[in-house]
């Protein structure tokens, strides 16, 4: 293989695949990046066996087709430290030569046949989304997913596609967030897949805003998901298990509603939360008329009271929430106003942001 490549492009590609080339693995071949020179581009591939990335580097002059498998870390360092506009990469006798204007690096190659196959994710996507829409949907849900619990199924975001309608749901057992969206194009297929957070985060990091649409598909055996943009493809094993029946959790009988300014509410919760601690984690929200009073109390430390305006309809109510759960959601809200729907102090509240996004959060005991 022999190719000339723009250094910035290559650096970008290596940064994209470095998300899965871990420096610590019992199998050293997984620390490598596979470069495939084909036609007028070069594809970088890396995998950690659970997740794989391939990234197409353009601005490449391929003089001779072929593959190279070298340590991703070393190649990145070389590319980063070089000052040249372009670099020449060439293979020969088990070595990969990287030539700049005044430098020549030789890195030992690994046997490309030993590299685990990276799924190509070819074929048409099950549905396509605008990048902005994907970012909105994932942003609203991913934070609520559980991390490292033995209930595997909630360690990811549930994606459901039915009759051209897409919904994303995540929960950790104490709160649940749900977002609905509309794919740009879709097939007839109905899907129900739990995608790990790691894969979503990695894909969101690689995909730039300017890239237009992204395609998402699930393999036939329903084991793998393929997330594809124009330049990058991330494939990942799906999460095992049965996602809980979340529709039963979303209350439908709330009779009290508060309309709140997002930024003010976020700031008020943060301030009231300053005087809470591990033993008394809750912030009390007292709704009465047009006023919301937030109270935080830490034994032996003190008490915080924050007042704000709230358009509240219904009987006065005191309810306690874990401030962290509210802050998590309010941080990703894009609209100016949110509504909080409540029933009683021992029933979950729903935070709504527009018609397509909702967040259910369990209250804490106030006594």
């Amino acid at each position: 293989m022999k190719l000339r490549v723009n250094r910035h492009e290559l650096a970008e590609g290596l940064a994209a695949v470095s998300g899965v080339t871990t420096s610590r693995t019992p199998k050293p071949i997984l620390q490598c990046v596979l470069m495939e020179a084909q036609g007028d581009c070069c594809v970088l591939k890396a995998t950690d066996l659970e997740m794989s990335v391939s990234f197409t580097v353009t601005q490449v002059e391929v003089e001779e087709k072929g593959d190279i498998l070298v340590s991703a870390d070393k190649l990145s360092q070389i590319v980063r430290e070089s000052g040249d506009e372009t670099l020449l990469l060439e293979t020969g006798e088990g070595l990969c030569h990287v030539r700049g204007q005044d430098s020549h690096f030789q890195i030992y190659q690994q046997d490309t046949r030993e590299f685990p196959p990276v799924p190509s994710g070819g074929g048409p996507a099950d549905f396509e989304l605008e990048t902005g829409e994907l970012r909105r949907l994932v942003g609203w849900t991913a934070f609520a997913a559980a991390r490292e619990t033995s209930r595997y199924a909630i360690n990811g975001v549930l994606w459901e596609l039915q009759k051209g309608h897409l919904s994303l749901t995540a929960t950790d057992g104490r709160r649940l967030s749900h977002a609905e969206g509309k794919p740009k194009t879709t097939t007839d297929r109905s899907l129900r897949a739990i995608i790990p957070i790691k894969a979503l985060n990695l894909f969101m990091r690689i995909v730039g805003e300017a890239e237009g649409d992204v395609g998402i598909s699930v393999t036939e055996n329903e084991n793998q998901v393929v997330l594809r943009s124009s330049r990058a493809t991330v494939t990942s094993a799906l999460v095992e298990g049965q996602f809980p029946n979340y529709r039963d959790v979303i209350p439908t009988d709330s009779d009290k509603q508060a309309d709140l300014n997002t930024a003010e509410f976020l700031s008020a919760i943060r301030r009231a939360a300053l005087l809470t601690n591990d033993e008394s984690r809750s912030v009390k929200l007292s709704f009465q008329g047009d006023e919301l009073v937030l109270t935080g109390r830490a034994p032996e430390e003190g008490e915080a009271v924050v007042r704000m305006l709230a358009a509240f309809q219904g009987e006065p109510l005191d309810i306690g929430f874990n401030p962290v759960f509210l802050v998590d959601a309010l941080k990703v809200v894009e609209s100016d106003r949110v509504t909080l729907e409540l029933k009683a102090s021992n029933r979950p509240g729903i935070l709504r942001c527009g018609p397509n996004m909702l967040y259910v959060v369990m209250p804490l005991n106030l006594s």
């Binding site: 019992p26 199998k27 685990p116 033995s150 055996n221 329903e222 084991n223 799906l238 999460v239 095992e240």
Partner: protein, 365 residues
């Protein structure tokens, strides 16, 4: 490798084939038995069989060879040719997870990485087993976890693993390899199908030694095969530690042991134990000084005990049994006592002194 290359374990073969033919393979197995008799080889071959997309019926001669001759049901084996089989052989199959205590060196948390891998801790089990179980298989058929030295899983880690052992996802199989079942919690092994492995016949060990270490002389092979007590792994380890050469240095003094020379013998033995311990250390750099010394001493005492056992055997064949046979038997029991004391953390020097003087005294009386 074919699953039938694992020899002299008819019970294990039968259990697996019965489970496969009934299409009711349990999700968790405990393979228990002495070290070095083929548990891991069998587990790997079984994993290959579970991952292979087109397993085939084994040929008759293969079945016969592995003591399954009277087994009437179908006997399955991996095809050995597909991509999955090749990947298992190369140990790069994405759905075969080998878990061992030294994996902590690859844990994302620095504190866990810097720990000494004395046992399989809860962090390693959580990260490499419990989290990995939650992902669907990469190639579609199954996921197999082989947990080496599972009797060194800490209690906390065993408790963390209970839920996974009880109801893993449908395509997940866990195989725990243990040498002593007592060290597993009852809650752990009651969730698993137990498969026991027995020591190998001595002549099989000798045969394998001849093949694997062709440079070895005949009498060394016989000696090591006898000493290893049916464990091929242990026999190979003895050979690699140079036991045949070291043997004379340890047992020759026993022939003319007296109270006067006792302290020299103790000194010699301490040195030998140290060098044997160093060999254990090379194999497993994570073990502590005391543990390596203890392992060295165990080998040394096994050598001494074997020497007396030989004498006992030849004495038993002669007409004038009487004092000499009892002497040997007493010596063996004295050695066993010393081994037990050392296992219980007694002072090694004192233990050896007591043993040597007792042996000398027995000889004199």
């Amino acid at each position: 490798m074919s699953i039938f290359d694992v020899r002299h374990q008819p019970r294990a073969h039968r259990m697996i084939q019965r489970a496969l033919s009934g299409n009711r393979v349990p999700h968790a197995y405990v393979f228990h038995g002495p070290d070095g008799v083929g548990k891991e080889a069998f587990a790997t071959a079984f994993a290959q069989l579970l991952l292979c997309p087109n397993p085939r019926s084994a040929e008759t001669d293969l079945r016969k060879r592995s003591e399954l001759a009277d087994w009437t049901g179908p006997a399955m084996d991996a095809c050995g040719e597909c991509d999955d089989c090749r990947a298992v052989r190369a140990d790069t199959h994405p759905d075969m997870h080998r878990i061992y205590r030294q994996l902590n060196a690859f844990h994302p948390d620095t504190a866990v990485r810097n720990r000494k891998a004395l046992d399989l801790g809860v962090d390693v089990v959580r990260h490499f087993v419990i989290d990995a179980v939650g992902a669907k298989p990469a190639r579609g058929r199954a996921k197999v976890f082989i947990i080496r030295e599972a009797d060194r899983i800490t209690t906390a880690a065993q408790n963390a693993l209970l839920k996974t052992l009880e109801e893993p996802p449908a395509t997940t199989f866990l195989i725990l390899l243990v040498s002593s079942l007592e060290r597993l919690l009852p809650t752990t092994f009651s969730r698993c199908q137990l498969v026991s492995f027995s020591p190998l016949p001595q002549d099989f060990v000798a045969l394998q030694l001849r093949e694997l270490r062709p440079e070895l002389e005949d009498n060394a092979i016989t000696y090591v095969a006898q000493l290893a007590e049916g464990s091929l792994g242990l026999a190979l380890q003895y050979v690699d530690d140079g036991i045949p050469a070291i043997r004379d240095r340890i047992v020759t003094p026993l022939e003319r042991l007296d109270a006067a020379g006792g302290s020299t013998v103790v000194k010699d033995w301490m040195e030998s134990a140290k060098s044997l311990g160093a060999a254990c250390r090379r194999r497993d750099p994570e073990i502590s000084d005391t543990e390596s010394q203890r392992q060295g001493l165990n080998v040394l005492l096994a050598l001494a005990s074997a020497w007396y056992r030989d004498r006992l055997r030849s004495a038993a064949g002669k007409a004038e049994t009487g004092p000499r046979a009892t002497l040997c038997a007493d010596a063996i029991s004295a050695i066993n006592t010393a081994a037990q004391q050392i296992e219980l953390n007694a002072n090694v020097q004192l233990c050896l002194e007591a043993l040597v003087f007792r042996l000398a005294w027995q000889r004199a009386s």
